[in-house]
Each structure stands twice: as C-alpha cells, then as structure tokens.
Symmetry: none
Subunit: 259 residues, 2 copies
Amino acid sequence: LLTESQRDRLEVVLVSPRNPLNIGAAARALANFGFSRLSVVAPYEPHWREATSAVGAEKLLRNARRTQYLAEAVADCSLVLGTATLSHRKPEQPVIRLPALAPIIQEKLARGSRVALVFGSEKRGLTRDDLALCHHLVEVPTHPAQPSMNLAQAVAVCLYELSAPRNEDSSAIAGPGAPASDLTAADPPATAGDLGLLAEVVAQAMAAANYSPAIMRNANHRQMHLLLRRLTLSHGDARRILGLFRRILWQLRRRREPN
Amino acid sequence: LLTESQRDRLEVVLVSPRNPLNIGAAARALANFGFSRLSVVAPYEPHWREATSAVGAEKLLRNARRTQYLAEAVADCSLVLGTATLSHRKPEQPVIRLPALAPIIQEKLARGSRVALVFGSEKRGLTRDDLALCHHLVEVPTHPAQPSMNLAQAVAVCLYELSAPRNEDSSAIAGPGAPASDLTAADPPATAGDLGLLAEVVAQAMAAANYSPAIMRNANHRQMHLLLRRLTLSHGDARRILGLFRRILWQLRRRREPN
C-alpha cells in the first residue's frame, strides 16, 4: 500500500476541464482515495471558480495548482501517464491497461520519483501535443459500445486501482515496473522538465543544421518528444546529451554557411 | 472475463437517488463497463424524468426498471450485495472489500444466478431496512479522512472492479519491461552493429564540434558507448538518431571555422 508521502508524489492533472461539476467530483475522488495533489491546466475561468466548492474537497481545490501549459504541470515528474480510451487514435506510445498499472506506479513512487496521471478534457480527451509529453498511455478497459467515460468517473476508477490493496501487492512490485529500474540506482530518472529542455535544444540544433524542411518541423518535433520518452533516460544521461547538443548548436551557429 | 449473458444477470440497483446527474452518470458507467440492467427504487419523480437524457446511456435509462421497494427490485436475485462506507454503522453482515469481490460475483453469475449490487441515496446511503435485504456488504476502500463517495463514481469503481481483466490475462500486458516491449513488437531492438555505426558517427560529430579536448576523447567515447547501451534503443530509433547526427556532421564539416 502507498504511504502518505508516496501519495503526495502522485500529481493528478486535468487538462482544460470544462464542467465545474466534473472538476469538483474529480477532486472529491482524490480525497476519497487519499491523494491530495491536483493540477489544472488552462481551465475555463468561470467554471473553475464555480468548481471550487465541491463537497468535501474544498481544501484540495484551493490548493490545486493552475498552469497555462501541460509541460509546466508535469515538469518535475519523471513518469507522465496519459489516460485515453484508444477507440479512435492509433497510439504512438506503449499502452498499459489500468489493471496492470498499480505496480508500475507504486515502484516509481517508492523510489521517490514524481508521477503524473493526466486526463484530457471531457469533449476531446488529450490532444496529440499533450500525448507527446506522455511516456505511456493508460487505457481503462471499457466496453467497445460505450468506451468514453465521464471525466470524474475515470479519475475515480484510476485512483481506486492505484490505492486498492491487492493480495499480490508485494510480489507484483518486482515485476512489470522493471524497465527503467536497473540503470537508475544512483542516477534518478530524467524529469519531464529535463526532457523538455533537451527537446528544445535538439530542435534548435535540427533547425540550425537544416535537418528538416519547415513544413515537417511540427511532426518531427512531436516524433522527437516521443523518442526521448521511449529512451527512459536518467537525469545524468539527459544532462550529458544536452551538453553535446549545446556544443553542436553553438558550433553550427558561429560558423557561416558557405556561399 | 464475464460473458454477455453473465453481465445481463447483474442488476445494479439505485435506491432513492436524488440527483438527476448522478442517475445519468451511473447509467453511463454501466454502459462503459458493458452492463445493461439498471433498477431504480422510489426515485424522486421530477429528477428521474430529468435524468433520462444521459449522454450515451439513453436506451439503458429507458429500459431501467422502476420499483417502489427494494424488495421488488432484488426479488429474483440470489445474491444481494449492499454497498457502504462503514464509517458510521457497525455492520451486521459479513463485509467484503471491493478488491476481493470479483471472484465471488463471477462465480455466482457463471452458475446462472442473478446478483444485485445495491447503492443507497447520496445523502444517507442504505437504511437499516435496506441493509436487512442484503446478504453481504461491499466496502470500497476509501480514505478515512473522506470516506464518502459520489454515487456515480462509486458505481463506476464497482463495475470497473467486476469487469477488469486480472491475472488470467496479465500475460498480455505484464512481464518485465512490458511497457517498452509492447511498442517495439514491430520495431526490433537495435543490434550491436546499429549501435557501433551510431557511436562512430556521434564521435565524429563530437570531434567536428570540438566537443572534447583530444586527451578526453577516449574516455568520452567509452562513456558514449555505455550511454547508447543504457538507452535500449530500437532499430528504428537508432536509424532516426543516426540520420540526425549524419546531417549535423555534414553541416559542421562544410562550414568553415570563423577566423
């Protein structure tokens, strides 16, 4: 089971929520399952104000962090999980079904890492740009005839899954959480902020080297974000690669194009 | 996993629900998890009419059964489970925590029995008279500081638990390294040859960018080999990174050092 301090390292992020009742109900679900950190990205202002009176979650909503962009909200998290129903889009990241998620997150939290669980807006879910900031997608196994869940209910189901005591708890932790684990004993995993900075410098180097025509830049940028997340970099390795690309960028810029 | 006809033997019963939004959201949760039988006991009439337009659950609500008393709603069920948070009352029945419930219900449904899952009203939960009709109580393991769940969220969490695929099909998901390996099913891991070629081109780009003084080159080269192996690159990703470094190297070489 998660300790109090482990729960405090889980950040629940709502991107552009519209319905004030949903915001309040999502906050209440956090409180129901013992979580306290809520971030709201670019909420619709009047509805946000209306939301802050959810029964039993007033304090949690008052303490919620507000950011303009998803990148800010997840900057200090080393594992960012986007929730999706996957009925429409073919995902570009690995997909974890919710019943398999708990050990993966528990292992991360137990090591002191911060984890973000990101929910899209009621209408459209997470955009492609939002998804490019996620390491994995989490799929709630819903019925194909009605796959799309209410926002607050999706939050409740995910947090229930993470906090419910299960018999195989102890043994499961050694299992599927493993990918990033061996390399990072001494070197903590790269945070979303590390990866954002690295992506920015690599993109500048790409531009300085005329790597891709302007028309391809957005697509390449997204691809690069996805690639960086597939690599499960450590903090130290992200710094090393950043150092190399900064040097390359500086050299490309100080040299003239030949005539 | 539950078959279609097993799902049809699970009756979700809402006793005296007040909030039309909750009724609609509860119906949607049934649809999300592939259930279809909803009974409503003594609803508050105007709110019931208002509820019947829940997004994606209209048909389910139209087909919902209405009864005056709980006893009628559960009359043909051989297992009646009352949901409760148990913070106030000392229960008189055996209590099953939700994570342990699925096998009990699945076994009943598989034998052809009907099972009712009963939810009380938002304000007061199930009364003593209601509870007297239940074989067992089901407890959703919530946090003591905020044990009381929103009605529709409680319905969603319970139905998720009953329908989520667990151990039997964990092989589809789990195994060490699961997240990274799903994605690379189509994209095989980079070979030593891929990594050797990539290391060579990165080293040339480092040299062309005067990244490290000559005396550090061997050490840096070794570090970079180690780093490339830590990344567990796929073949496709190694090709992508190689393409970028080839472009950078070419640009660095064709430009002159400024005097």
